[in-house]
């Protein structure tokens, strides 16, 4: 019976008992359990990516009015396996003049950076890789490894397109890390803890209701961190061939994509954990398997929203992207941290045992006020000094000769 209520926790408990029963030292048991946990998370991550690639192709097809993969297997489910077999047999071309060690490290690092994030995400009340007490900081630190992978891929490729992609990475992905860290700081403030499990435990009221601005900032900046449309400047196909991955081929190229697909779902998982109450839901306390279900349900909703954004919005210009970050998101994030801190302190001084819903309502009102104020500032600035319109002025255009043209005849 215990197995059906909490299968993963049951297996962990059983394995630990089995290993201890063999008479191994507690340290060795711990090490073996950790290694098995890592292997489980890693295989799950890569296996899940195969499914995610199918999901993404199907959803993108539907958004663009196509059908998507539908030939290999039912609903095209086995399409990805066919693609994997193909990509395994493709030649690994190493161009002249690349920095070989770094060049080979980059695809490995890009997948590693995403997998490492899963170490601290709690899937259910009993299923979590590890409960380190600085989990949120760990997310920030490991999350920036992905940026590093793209940076060294572009730099080591000895290709000007790849290098330009890497430059854009520096300007964009690194910039968007600042508002992301600020929104994580707001979450830490509200939860009073950096441990991810504590953050989940603190969400009697989901943080999306307490601080919707932090949620929006996190969503936008992690979309930019993923490097997907509308922020896909580092691999802009129409300008830079393929950006940082121009010189990669075979499975090394594939690994960048594995990293990207898994990252977009991981962002869904992170948003769920930090803002949507993680695994919490009706019945999740008694039945951890329900917690896993709620967790994946919420993650897929956020994942779908990121895909929706990706396939609906065109690519932005780099100066617009940077302006939006440094002149809007960063000041907004800073003010959000200050106001959240002062308001929360005041609320808890007035009544130390304040109702969480009342606190959420006060914070929500503050968020709305701050958003309206920021909006007002942007509007005022736009009225005073309209946005630059570089293509507005009339320019010499090649015109057909004065004689009546074909179109006029037709008219």
């Amino acid at each position: 019976m215990a197995f059906f209520v909490d299968p993963i926790g049951f297996i962990i408990f059983w394995l630990r008992g089995l290993l201890s029963g063999w008479g191994l030292a507690p340290g060795v048991v711990e090490f073996i359990m950790d290694a098995l946990g890592v292997i489980a998370i890693g295989s799950f991550g890569l296996g899940f990516t195969i499914f995610l690639i199918w999901v993404e192709r199907k959803i993108s097809a539907r958004i663009q009015g196509r059908i998507g993969p539908n030939r290999v297997g039912p609903y095209g489910l086995l399409q990805t396996f066919a693609d994997i077999i193909k990509i395994f047999t493709k030649e690994h071309i190493t161009p002249r003049g690349v920095d070989v060690a770094v060049y080979n490290l980059a695809p490995v690092l890009s997948v590693m950076a995403v997998l490492l994030l899963w170490a601290v995400i709690p899937l259910a009340s009993t299923v979590v890789g590890t409960e380190i007490n600085v989990g949120v900081l760990y997310i920030v630190a490991v999350g920036s490894l992905g940026t590093l992978a793209i940076l060294i891929a572009g730099w080591s490729s000895n290709n000007k397109f790849a290098l330009l992609g890497a430059f854009r990475t520096v300007a964009q992905m690194i910039s968007y890390e600042v508002p992301m860290v600020l929104s994580l700081l707001t979450v830490t403030l509200l939860a009073r803890s950096m441990s991810v499990t504590q953050v989940v435990a603190a969400q009697d009221v989901w943080f999306i209701l307490v601080s919707p601005l932090a949620f929006l900032i996190f969503l936008v900046s992690s979309q930019a961190e993923m490097g997907r449309a509308p922020f896909d400047l580092m691999e802009a196909e129409s300008e830079l061939v393929a950006g940082y991955q121009t010189e990669y081929s075979g499975l090394k190229f594939g690994m960048f994509f594995v990293g990207e697909f898994l990252h977009s779902f991981t962002v869904g998982a992170l948003v769920t954990t930090l803002f949507l109450g993680g695994w919490r839901g009706p019945g999740a306390e008694q039945y951890p398997i329900l917690g896993i279900f709620w967790f994946f349900l919420k993650s897929f909703v956020i994942y779908f929203i990121t895909l929706w954004l990706r396939f609906s919005l065109p690519r932005l210009r780099i100066d617009h992207i940077l302006d939006y970050n440094w002149k809007y998101l960063v000041p907004l994030g800073l003010m959000l941290v200050v106001l959240t801190a002062v308001l929360d302190k005041w609320l808890f001084m007035v009544n130390p045992a304040i109702n969480p819903w009342l606190r959420a309502l006060a914070q929500l009102a503050m968020n709305a006020g701050l958003f309206l104020f920021a909006n007002f500032l942007v509007e005022t600035r736009n009225r005073r000094k309209p946005l630059r319109q570089p293509v507005g002025a009339p320019r010499p255009v090649a015109r057909p000769p004065e004689k009546a043209s074909i179109t006029e005849k037709a008219a």
Partner: protein, 118 residues
């Protein structure tokens, strides 16, 4: 406490296997027939001119530097956020003033034109 970090250590040791081993396997499965034209740097069919690692626009570097200032200083605020319940009201305002100084820094950089993409 230490056991929690053991997991992260083991993860760092083992995580490279998941992308690394498939790449190694693919290396043995795939053909390997390099030739001079194939191994050329790709530049839409045109031969590449000059060194790749050239001087580039300083603007990229500006943004990286601004990022560094902000990221380091924001990380200082995490301990403040954790100790929030124990802080006296003075401590909260000290943190708030620290953030407002950061805001001033941002406005200063803005005024200087460090945030312009020119």
């Amino acid at each position: 406490m230490l056991n929690d970090w053991l997991f992260v250590g083991v993860f760092f040791l083992l995580a490279w296997i998941f992308p690394g081993v498939p790449i190694l396997i693919a290396r043995f499965l795939s053909p390997n027939k390099p030739n001079a034209i194939k191994n050329d740097t790709y530049e839409c069919g045109v031969e590449t001119v000059g060194d790749t690692w050239v001087q580039f626009k300083v603007q990229y570097y500006n943004f990286a530097l601004t990022f560094l200032i902000f990221d380091v200083e924001i990380v200082f605020l995490f301990p403040w956020a954790i100790a929030f319940d124990q802080l006296p009201i003075f401590g909260v305002f000290a943190g708030a003033i620290f953030v407002l100084i950061l805001m001033g820094e941002l406005l200063g950089a803005w005024r200087k034109g460090a945030l312009e993409w020119a």
